[in-house]
């Protein structure tokens, strides 16, 4: 801080001394009494209304983050389901007899059969691409199952090692693509941090303009921006309360 660094351009002890001697005005006693009485009335008005919210803020935020993350992961898995992944699902494995060759075309017909799919396949939304025939090199379902099942018991349908290597190679090749998928989302965030704040044009405006803008953004569905604006509003106008229709973070 400049004052701590002894910058005399911004501080002058002799001036401060003279000012100290001159500045002796005080508010009248009636004001003191009125303000103190008001403070006591407020202090006795009951517990803080926001204390519960403050206590729960962190756990609720964490829970919201978890739910959001899980939703995002599920959405990404749904969108990222490609013929490769679909072909690797264990569902068709049960339908195959030990000696029966793999026939992907028969799958849709088998879907009508009373055999229920495994729970993993049930819970997953299958895109239309699921019915696309896998490449010839993927015609080894048991091997694929091993790729995803890790230490699963080997089945009698164990395929020759050649296709297994290919499947593993393709799955390996697909991983970087899946990993790189969220990358474009990071760059706009980085760009946003360098951009001027959302409230740039409100800086010199009175509090009612801020409230108006918050309401506009909330109505327009810009929830995140509105929340950021509410935070900045609270910082700039700590004495102001927000209208009830504003959703407060």
């Amino acid at each position: 801080m400049a004052l701590n660094s002894g910058d005399e351009m911004e501080h002058d002890e002799s001036l401060a001394k003279v000012y100290r001697a001159a500045a002796n005005e005080a508010p009248p006693a009636r004001l003191d009494a009125a303000i103190r009485a008001a403070s006591r009335r407020q202090a006795g008005a009951g517990p803080r209304p926001l204390s519960g919210l403050r206590t729960w803020r962190v756990p609720v935020s964490l829970a919201a983050m978890l739910v959001l993350s899980a939703t995002l992961v599920l959405m990404m898995r749904e969108e990222g389901a490609d013929p490769l992944e679909t072909a690797l699902e264990p569902a068709p494995l049960r339908e195959l007899a030990p000696g029966r060759p793999f026939e992907p075309q028969a799958r849709s017909a088998d879907a009508q059969a009373p055999l229920p799919p495994p729970p993993a396949a049930q819970s997953r939304v299958r895109p239309p691409a699921a019915d696309i025939a896998p490449p010839a090199s993927l015609a080894a379902p048991p091997t694929a199952q091993k790729v995803f099942a890790g230490n699963a018991e080997p089945t009698p349908l164990a395929a020759p090692p050649e296709p297994r290597r290919e499947v593993a190679a393709m799955a390996e090749a697909a991983r970087p693509m899946m990993r790189s998928a969220p990358a474009p989302a990071a760059s706009p965030a980085a760009a946003a941090s360098a951009a001027p704040p959302l409230w740039q044009d409100l800086i010199d405006q009175p509090s009612d303009k801020w409230i108006q803008r918050i309401l506009e953004w909330q109505r327009a569905g810009r929830s995140a921006d509105a929340v950021a604006l509410v935070r900045e509003f609270r910082r700039r106008f700590p004495e102001q309360s927000l209208p009830a229709e504003i959703h407060q973070p």
């Binding site: 002058d12 001036l15 001159a22």
Partner: protein
Amino acid sequence: MNTLTVIQSAAVKGLPAGCRSPGASAYWRPEMPQDADASDESLMLAYRDGDAGAFDRLYERHRGGVYRYMLRQCRNAALAEELFQDVWMNLIRARASYEVQARFSTYLYRIAHNRLMDHFRRRDFVAMSLDDETAAPVEEPAALPGAQPEIDIEARAQAAQLLSLLGKLPDEQREAFVLQQEGGLSVEEIAEATSVSRETAKSRLRYAMAKLREGMQSWR
């Protein structure tokens, strides 16, 4: 050094936040009780949680500073009283949402600054006029306690000269000076309280100091 560091270092030294150790700086905190060891922030938190006594201590510490800030900026005793009361009422109303994000002084003087700006906006004042006919004259400072008569006269004249010079400063420069003197705010805190950049606050303070120094040359 950021605000929290200041608060923490003050707490470590056992000083109220906002008060510097005697050798560190020449900040002046008027009406600060010597035996008070609770920081402003902890008092405000205690008041938020229902301790009315904490407010009394806070009020005692800052009532003079806030009042004089209003008086210097609007130069009308009746108006200053009205705005002063509003500031404290706003603080009381905002207690439920209080969180320590800055030094309490910065928080308090931000409320005071906002109230002042709000008043002048409502009255369509572009700037606070020094030529306002309704403005109360600058009061003569009272006698300094324990001073000898000739020293007293000289000190009073010196103080009157400073207040007169202060009244002639542009509003923003005067505000920066008063915030420094009454609130003990640093340049960064003045910037925060008045919603301007650090450089702007620094410039205002420097101009104010330069003009006051120049005007007080004859007393040096």
